[in-house]
Amino acid sequence: MSGAPLVELSGVGVRIGSSQILRDVDLEIEAGEVVGLFGANGAGKTTALRLIATLIRPAQGSGTVLGADLSSAERYDVRRRIGMIGHVPGIFPELTLAENLRYAARVAGVSTDRVAGALAAVGLAGAADRPAGAASHGMQRRTEFARELMIDRSLLLLDEPHSALDRDAVDLVEGLIERKAAEGGAVIVVSHDRDRVGAIAHRTVDLVGGTLT
């Protein structure tokens, strides 16, 4: 890892459809950092994560993530190194938990042999063949964490990682966050829960009025 920040946003604004969601956002995240991001309902936290995940383009300002310019087409090439666990699970309800992971492994180009180990690591070895749609929200989230364990990510974006998780799973998540930071990656944790995230984050930022304070 060179000294360049993993995430660098300057004066970024995001507009979705006809509304301005973010404006004038400046943010710099170095390798090894865990950043807590707080904000009220509808403050634009999810949009901020999707922006950093290169999934939406800034309407104003400029930014780079893992060295890729957010406004250009090159940003496709870094997507595989960005993990995101959103508010709504990005898994297919008709497929079993193991099938979901196998699909992820195949698309990402990692060996499907890792699926069983990843499921075991999140404590779902016994539920591998359960359809994702029939699994609880907490199990779906654990499956998504298993996916992030299988694939080597440099940047992890977690939207309310504590919601729907029991005590064991919370430990698992916090372990994953610490490990990612120790490996030289970076983690952004979006939350309402200042106490809990404050304990693991190196620093925190607040999203108010569409901008960071």
Partner: protein, 222 residues
């Protein structure tokens, strides 16, 4: 790119086929509905066997077209935004996603064509000549409709009125496929040249495939 293009295509095809098999929309709703549509026509226009034999093939193709549109509509509402995000962050090449979704749609359509085709042969007493050419026609129509449907679904994606718009966009653009299919059948029956019709369908398939692959990335931009 770390992963091979076709490797990703296969992963998407397997995913879609598995989802379809689990959900069973196609098997238990779309195909029976298509068969019922074939049954309704004689009820509406009368049961004159000669007339039915004459219009049967045409009716069959019209139903394949209309249901091809249905498959496209279901395709447009198939992946939620979080699912699309997750696939994108796995490094899925948008073009591989397009090809994979097209291939799985084409497989659904081929199954639909086969089952409804057997029903049509039974109900309308359709005679089969030139089985090789007919198989090629079925394949080209399935591929063409799958391509048009997948591309259109990508075009309207994430717009609220989008799904309702798919039939309006697909139907007029599938006219060459409809004419190609019916005229190939007529040509085989009447013993005149069908090569130009087959080439026309091939041209449609190639053109839409090229546009779909080239525009896969710009379409993901929003």
């Amino acid at each position: 790119m770390i992963t091979g293009f076709w490797h990703q295509v296969r992963a998407v095809v397997d995913r879609d086929l598995l989802r379809e098999r689990r959900q069973g929309d196609m098997l238990w709703i779309t195909i029976p509905f298509g068969a019922i549509a074939l049954l309704l026509i004689p009820l509406a226009i009368g049961t004159d066997a000669v007339l039915l034999r004459e219009i049967g093939p045409g009716m069959y193709w019209v139903i394949v077209m209309l249901f091809g549109v249905l498959v496209a509509v279901s395709r447009a509402s198939r992946e939620t935004l979080p699912q699309q995000d997750a696939s994108a962050l796995l490094g899925l090449d948008p073009a591989a996603g397009f090809v994979g979704r097209t291939v799985s749609s084409a497989i659904f359509l081929l199954i639909f064509e086969a089952v409804v085709g057997i029903v049509a042969i039974g109900l309308y007493d359709i005679s089969i000549i030139g089985i090789g050419w007919l198989a090629l026609t079925l394949l080209l129509v399935a591929a063409g409709l799958a391509l048009l449907g997948t591309l259109t679904a990508a075009i309207v994606n994430s717009s609220s009125a989008g799904t309702a718009l798919v039939p309006l966009l697909v139907a007029p653009l599938s006219v060459p496929l409809l004419l190609g299919a019916t005229q190939t059948y007529d040509g085989l029956q009447g013993g005149y040249g069908i090569l130009s019709w087959v080439l026309l369908m091939v041209a449609v398939v190639l053109v839409v495939a090229i546009i779909g692959v080239l525009t896969a990335r710009p379409l993901q931009e929003t």
